[in-house]
Each structure stands twice: as structure tokens, then as C-alpha cells.
């Protein structure tokens, strides 16, 4: 069953047709990668899924409900979490505080006026946050200022924060962009582990073919705002159209 | 009808002042990305340039009169300004009479220096700091500048007359074919024309010089221009000086309209900010348009006919308009996308 259904989505910026006519189904509990050259419309598509942009045409259904017109926080509460290209965390707060915020959001919803209760008394939240930190091997950095962590740790924390909400769909926007090889491999391992241990659907936008082929079960190739082809990684590797649009440079060489 | 025209004209000079200050604020914001709460103080310093020039020109020697006696029978002390003793009484008196326009000559270098010193000495260090810090430090600077002026010039407004030639009023009545007379002070016409020239000069400078082209490009996309190997920072410093000079000149010529006092900068600043926001943060034409629009609106709202229906509306009209515009057009009248979105 498809948990995310994108139908005929189009988006235009002035004279630029960023997304033509995108159709895409992401199966539940699968890992689906969206690849494509620069300017193919990957980020635009992602932004349409999370409520940052509203597409001009088409529909986006998550678990049978439309996400269009909803605010990002509402879409998140439906069960979609997003990991950004550059880790978006609360840099002014400690790692533990970062971790508690999604736990509160999961339990209390988008707003709750708990102004006179003490955080220290929120045993279940503290417990859950600590558990997540342990699982992600961040527990020794518990009281660290999160802005001063390494990029790899920031990425780990961001993923941990998303997972703390038990999302049904995890969207990753080039999660290894700008990372050193070792950090990239760590991230791949982490994502593999998440996939194995949880009932979670992962949709990933990625540039790095190594990452895509190690994780994805299905791949959609986007070019100039329209899906070129959708298939399994093995078939994609040898697909002539893909080689032309995406790996064109290797042929030329 | 003629009352409306008169108020419209009255709004022009206040609008000119708003437009000039807002223009400088926008230039600084657009180029340096800094919110300058001390910009009103620059306007005030300009006005005090007029006061200073007037005081310097009226520095006098005292001589004892040979013929006249005071009431105690001593020879009367006669004060003769130096300029009169140097250039003869007629030329000297004329120079004193024209002290406000002459103050422009002093104001330009003074304001440029003040601008450069401010940018290099203080503002430069705040490019990377949050906007709140920029507001706070320039707010502190504004307090300091106004207190310094208060210390040297006192707390009372200092009347600074315009040249005698402009003291009268121009009658717009016949010109517009009205039966009634429509007297409008000459100096206000001068002020409006002066402002128009400065605004035109700033736009021409930005439009037609290479320097201006780089600055405009820098306002649009600072990083890319920096990548081209152009030293954008130095140009931005110069732009800060120019913005300071624009505010200063607006102040110099405003002195005869409103006697300069130490808090005039703050008074104008609040409204100029409203003007900038209404015009659209970062939009130079927007700043000018909104400046005149709000100046005229304020003037029209102060008509008795309006005030009888809505008492005191002139005091709040600008704020009401600003709030309505910001809510309906969040980017202001002519704001560009992406400026101060976050």
C-alpha cells in the first residue's frame, strides 16, 4: 500500500516550470530515493510534501489524507518528519533539551500552555529523550551546547529528534551533503539500522549514488521537473535513459 | 478645495524630510543589512550644522561707540560680526542672512566624516550580529549623540531663520485659477525642490555610475558581487557616508521650518522607520513614495474639517496606515521578496 501518493503535481515560479507533472507512490515501510541532476526539481518536490510550498496543480495524499494547504507543523503532526540538508537543530540549547522538544511535541501536540510545570518533573519525557540519546550514542554529549557539536553529531541529533516523534514517513534531504566519507558511511549505517529496527518509510533525496544504491529499494529519477523513470536500483543502474539524463557525463568521457 | 491643496503642499515638505531620511535608512539597510536607529540623530546633526554656521558667522567683535551712549552714559558697546568687518557691512549681512544655505558647505564634509567614522568605528562590527543587537547599539548611539548635542546647545529649540529673500509666501491662488489666495511659504518650496534634487541625485548616482551599479548589484546579491572580486565593503562604507550626508542635508535645510532641538532626530526617526516599512524594506522608490504619501496624509488629516469628525486623527493616521499596510501587504508597498523574510 502506498503511504504517500503524489498525483500530477506541478509548480511554476514565474517563467520557470520547476515541476511538470509528477506522479510518485512511496510504498509503506520501503526506502524510496529520488535522484536527479541539479535543478531537476527535487527540493521543490520535497517542499511541496512538507507544506513549505503549495503546488499549483495536483494532489499530495499522505495515508489517505491530503496534505495540501496544511501548515508544516500540521503535516508534521500527521506523521511526516523532515531532515534538512544542513542539520536544523536548536543550536542555542543543549543536546538533551533538543531531544526533549520533539518528545513534548509528540505527547502534547502543536501547542500546550504548560507554563508552571517543571521540566524536571516530566519523568516520561526525560526518560524517552535519554533513551533516544542512548540509542543514537549521543548520551555522553547530553549537556553539551548543540551548536558546538561536529557536523556528523548534529546530523545524528537531527535524525534522533525526528525519530523521537515516531514518524511514519521520514524525509531526508541530501543527508550526507558536504560530509566526509567516514561520516557518510556512518550515516548510511545509521539509516540502515533505523530501517531494520522500525516500521518506518523513508524517502530520500540524494546526490551521492553510493548512498542511494546502499539504501534504496526503489528509485525515481527526476529530470527537468518530471519523473523520467521509476524502478529498482539494479534496473536503474543499467537504464539507458537514466544514463543519458543523469550520468551523461560518464558517456561523454 | 483650496484648503486641501494647501494641506497637500504642507504635506510635501514633511514628506520630503521623511523621504530623505527613509531613503538613507533604506540605503544602509539594503547595502549593509543594518537597521540604523541612529539615523534620526544624523538628521538632527545636520540641523545643528545650520545652527553652528549661524553662530560662527555671527561671532562678533565689540567696539565702543564714539557717538552713542547707553543709559548709564557710558559709550555704547556695538557688536560687529567679523564677517561684516571683513567683507563690509552689506556683504557681511548678506552672508549672515544666507547662513542656512551656506551650512550645506559645512554639513557635507561633516556628515561624510560622521558617517565614515560611525561605519568604520561601530557599525562594521555589527554586520554579523543579530538585528536586535544592531537596533540596540544604534539606539544607544542615538542617545549619546542627542545628549552630546543637548550638552553643547542646550535643551531649547534654537530658531534658525531662512534667508530674508525666502521669508514671504508664494500665492498659489491665481496660479491655480482660484479666487482665494493660497499662501505657501517660499522656504517650503525651496525645501521641496531641494529634496527633489537630492533624491534625483541619489537615484542618478545609483543608476548611471559604475559605483552605483555595483552598489545596486550588491544590494540584490551581496555574495555574488563579492565573488567577482569587487571590494564591496569599501563601497558600502562610502554608501553609509552618503546616506549620512543625505540625512544631514535634509536636516540642514529643515532648520528654518522647525527650530532645531536635540530630540528632533528621535521624533523623525520613529516615523521614518514606519515610512521605510510601509514603503517596503530595501526598496528605494518605496521609501520615497511612502515618505511623501505619509507626509501628505498626515497633513490632510490635520485639517479642521477632518479633525472635527475624527478628533486627533492626524496624530495616529500614519500608524494606522502603517499597521493596515503591513497586515495586508506584509512586504510593504514596493518591497521585494526575500528581504528580511525571517
Amino acid at each position: 500500500m502506498a503511504i504517500l501518493e503524489v498525483k500530477n503535481v506541478g509548480k511554476r515560479f514565474g517563467g520557470l516550470q520547476a515541476l511538470g507533472d509528477v506522479n510518485l507512490n512511496v510504498e509503506e515501510n520501503s526506502c524510496h530515493a529520488i535522484i536527479g541532476p541539479n535543478g531537476a526539481g527535487k527540493s521543490t518536490l520535497l517542499n511541496c510534501l512538507v507544506g513549505k510550498l503549495i503546488p499549483d496543480t495536483g494532489s499530495v495524499m499522505f495515508d489517505g489524507q491530503s496534505v495540501l494547504g496544511r501548515k508544516p507543523y500540521e503535516i508534521n503532526q500527521m506523521g511526516i518528519s523532515r531532515v534538512f540538508q544542513t542539520p536544523e537543530i536548536f543550536g542555542d540549547l543543549t543536546v538533551m533539551e533538543n531531544m526533549m522538544i520533539p518528545c513534548f511535541a509528540k505527547r502534547d501536540g502543536s501547542f500546550r500552555m504548560h507554563a508552571l510545570e517543571s521540566i524536571a518533573h516530566e519523568k516520561d519525557i526525560v526518560g524517552k529523550a535519554e533513551h533516544m540519546l542512548e540509542e543514537m550514542k549521543l548520551i555522553d554529549k547530553r549537556d553539551m551546547h548543540s551548536a558546538s557539536m561536529s557536523r556528523g553529531d548534529k546530523r545524528r541529533l537531527e535524525i534522533a529528534m525526528c525519530l523521537a516523534q515516531d514518524p511514519r514517513l521520514l524525509l531526508l534531504d541530501e543527508p550526507t551533503a558536504g560530509m566526509a566519507r567516514a561520516d557518510t558511511n556512518n550515516t548510511i549505517d545509521l539509516l540502515k539500522q533505523i530501517k531494520e529496527e522500525r516500521d518506518i518509510t523513508i524517502a530520500i533525496i540524494e546526490h551521492d549514488m553510493h548512498v542511494v544504491f546502499s539504501l534504496a529499494e526503489r528509485i525515481t529519477v527526476l529530470a527537468q521537473g518530471t519523473p523520467l523513470v521509476e524502478d529498482t536500483p539494479d534496473n536503474i543502474k543499467g537504464h539507458p535513459k537514466v544514463r543519458e539524463a543523469y550520468l551523461g557525463e560518464t558517456q561523454a568521457a | 478645495m483650496d484648503a486641501i491643496i494647501l494641506q497637500f503642499l504642507n504635506g510635501l515638505d514633511k514628506g520630503s524630510a521623511y523621504a530623505l531620511i527613509a531613503l538613507g535608512l533604506t540605503l544602509i539597510f539594503g547595502t549593509l543589512g543594518v537597521v540604523n536607529f541612529a539615523h534620526g540623530a544624523l538628521f538632527m546633526i545636520g540641523a545643528f550644522c545650520s545652527v553652528t554656521v549661524q553662530r560662527i558667522l555671527t561671532l562678533s567683535t565689540e567696539t565702543l561707540s564714539e557717538t552713542q551712549k547707553d543709559f548709564l552714559g557710558n559709550p555704547l558697546k556695538i557688536k560687529t560680526p567679523y564677517v561684516e568687518s571683513w567683507f563690509g557691512p552689506e556683504v557681511g549681512a548678506a552672508i549672515i542672512d544666507w547662513s542656512v544655505p551656506l551650512a550645506i558647505l559645512l554639513a557635507i564634509p561633516v556628515m561624510l566624516i560622521v558617517g565614515f567614522v560611525m561605519e568604520r568605528g561601530l557599525i562594521k562590527h555589527f554586520y554579523k550580529r543579530p538585528h536586535a543587537d544592531q537596533i540596540l547599539v544604534t539606539f544607544g548611539l542615538a542617545i549619546v549623540l542627542q545628549e552630546v548635542i543637548k550638552y553643547f546647545y542646550g535643551a531649547n529649540p534654537i530658531p534658525t531663520p531662512a534667508p530674508a529673500a525666502f521669508v514671504g509666501s508664494f500665492d498659489f491662488g491665481p496660479l491655480l485659477g482660484l479666487d482665494t489666495s493660497l499662501a505657501y511659504p517660499y522656504w517650503r518650496l525651496v525645501y521641496f525642490a531641494f529634496s527633489a534634487v537630492i533624491i534625483g541625485a541619489v537615484f542618478a548616482f545609483l543608476q548611471f555610475t559604475t559605483f552605483g551599479m555595483v552598489v545596486r548589484a550588491g544590494m540584490a546579491d551581496r555574495e555574488t558581487v563579492g565573488l567577482l572580486g569587487i571590494d564591496i565593503d569599501r563601497r558600502f562604507t562610502i554608501m553609509f557616508g552618503i546616506a549620512a550626508a543625505v540625512a544631514g542635508l535634509a536636516g540642514v535645510m529643515y532648520a528654518p521650518i522647525n527650530s532645531p532641538n536635540y530630540h528632533m532626530g528621535m521624533d523623525f526617526l520613529v516615523l521614518s522607520f514606519v515610512v521605510v516599512v510601509v514603503g517596503g524594506m530595501g526598496s528605494l522608490p518605496g521609501a520615497v513614495l511612502a515618505g511623501f504619501m505619509l507626509g501628505i496624509l498626515e497633513s490632510l488629516a490635520s485639517m479642521n474639517e477632518v479633525k472635527n469628525i475624527l478628533p486627533g486623527i492626524d496624530q495616529i493616521i500614519i500608524y494606522v496606515v502603517a499597521i493596515v499596510i503591513l497586515l495586508t501587504r506584509p512586504r510593504g508597498l514596493m518591497g521585494r521578496k526575500g528581504v528580511m523574510e525571517e
Binding site: S81, F104, M113, S118 | A132, I135, F139, M266, V270, I316
Partner: protein, 411 residues
Amino acid sequence: MFGLKKHDSRLFIVVAVLALAAPFLLNPFPDGSAMAQFNAGYPDLMQRFVIFGIFAIGFNLLFGLTGYLSFGHAAFLGLGSYGAVWMFKLLSMNIIPAIVLSVIVAGVFALIIGYISLRRSGIYFSILTLAFAQMMFAIAYSDLIGRFVGTPITNGETGLQLALDDPRVLGISATPDGSIPLTNLFGLEMRSVFNLEVGGWLFTFSFGYYVCAVVMLLSFYVAIRIFRSPFGLMLRAVKSNQQRMNYTGLNTRPYTLAVFVISGMYAGLAGGLMASMDPLAGAERMQWTASGEVVLMTILGGAGTLIGPVLGAGFIKYFENIFAKINDNVLHSWFAFMPDGLEDLMVTIVHPFVGKGWHLTLGIMFMLVVIFLPGGLVEGGQRIGRLFRRRDDKATSVESDAAEQRKPAAE
């Protein structure tokens, strides 16, 4: 204690002791001595300390936690004052209903203004709040509402005052001897004082001050609770990264609006107390310079810290009072030990910064703090503290190094 962590309860107790013992602590110099002019232990000034403390604590909840810089907070203080005075005019001279009304009025206005202003952030928010405050100042200053209604509401330039013919339905319009009754708390007058003379010292205990101090302590306590609550955590998250907030399923708007209203109510409370101590209200309390003042206090003390705003308020109000008193005679007596020429020179140099020049000093101080000490006095204190602690650390680390080295030797 009271549901606070150890660290916070210690801070609270220190503040409580300082506030309650203020009449002693602020009068360190014997009456009549040369230094007596630096005493601050008289009711009027002490009341200002704590009232502006409340104002700054509330402002800090908004600015310190969320980073939203309101430049129009004085409007709420002014509204609180007007609300309280109207209560004194209509209901009774008991301060409880007056303060309750002032908090409600400020809260309602904060809700409206906040709802509109918080649609924008950053510089736009600052300017919107500034515009609202200036508009309300203009309305109060020319009593626009009063002109519509036909009876003075804010009483324009003169300000709102009590009169002998006010109804005061639950109290009396005038005392038997024909004067306006005094503000009180169930009969205990705010003005009543108890003087204690010990040796050369004269200590004045004012009931009004203690009312203010207790209210301030309550406000401070609530602020600590808010800081340590999940709500407070969310507010700090708003300041840190709104994007992440939104993508974590949190709606930032109600959080910021809630704290804006709370913050406005604190300002209203301060305004109500101000009117309770001296029952009049004027538009100048709402002017943007007054809003600037609370910003100054908070930054100077340390925005985002618990104690900072209280320190800042006390600091500014104390020095405002003391600096204003320093005139050339005082300066001459200070520098009397110097040779005459030097003495005159020093007096000339210092003169612009004292007396009426207090604002100049304040402006310079403010700039220096923003430039070099963005964390304010609290950060300054911490830095000094760390300086000392580092020496200790070094000592201990040297010891542990030595211990480390000894180990292999022992093996």
C-alpha cells in the same frame, strides 16, 4: 522549595532577602554624613526599584526567551496605570481591584496588539510594536477616546488624577476632613511608614514598599517557574530555530502570543502598582523612550537570565537618582585633594556625564554593554567569577597531573 530546583531556590531566597532587607541594605551611610546622598533606602526610590524590576522581568520573558524585541512595552505599563486610577476613581481606594483591573486591561490590549504584531518577526515586529505604542501614546496624550465619549478618559496632557467628587462606590469620595482618601490595602495605607533610628542611621520602612516587594517576589517566582517549564523551553526553541520548531510539529504563534500577553500583563501589573503608590497616570509613561528604558534595563542586566532584569532595573534607577544629584559642588569636593588646576580640569571632564548628563552616561554604558558584554551585568559577573575559578581549576589540575604522574612511579 516551592517546586524550584536547589539552584533556583537559592537565587530566589537571595533576592527575597535583599528585597525585604532593602531599607537596611540601601542605607549604609549614617544620616547627615557626607555619603548619605548615596543612600537609596527611601520608600519612593525603593518602590521604583521593584516596580521597574517587575516591568523588566516581564519584558525579559518575551525578549530574553523568544528574542522578539518589543519596542512598545511601555504602552502596557501606561494602560495599567490608567486602569488602576480609574478603579480608584470609581470603586474604592483598595489597591487589589485596581491592580487586578490593570493586569486585565494590559492583558487584553497585549492580546490584540500581539495577535497583529506577531504575524511578523524580526525588525518588522519591533517596528509594529513601536507603531502601536506610539499610536496609543498619541491617543492617550490628546485623549482621543475621551473626546469621542465626551468625558475625559486619559485626561490628555494633564494626566488622570483623583478628584474629590469621584464616586468610589465601595469607598468614600472624600475623607471627613475634605481631602482625597489614600490608596490602601484593606485599610493599611500605602503611605504609612515606620521609622527606626539606630545610632546615626535612620531606616524607613514603608508599607507601600513592602507591598511592591512582595508582588515583585511573586512575579519573580512565576518567572522562574516559566523559565524552567516546558513552555519556557519552547520559547527558547522559538528563539533558536523557528524552522525546526515548525518541522517538529509545533505551532510557534500561540507560544509567542501567550508569552507576549504574559509579558504585557507584567507591564500592566507594574503600571498598576505605580498608580497604587502614587494615584495618577500620564501619557508620558507610554512614550517610546519609556519602552526604550525597559529594553535598556533588561540588556544591561542580562537578557535571558533570571536575575539580569532585576539587576538592570535597580542599577539604572539607582544611578539615575544618584547621578542626577551630583553637581559641580560635589565634584569639586571629590577632586579637592588635587592641585587646583587639575581639580578644575577633572570637574570639567566629568561634568557632562553627571547631573543632567546622566542620559549621556547611560547611552555610553549601554553601547559598551551591547558591544563588549552582550550578556549584560550577569555575564560580566560570570566572567569575573570564572577568572577566579580558573585559577582554582589550574591548581586542582596541577594536583591531579601530579597524582597521575605518581601512579606509574608507584607501580
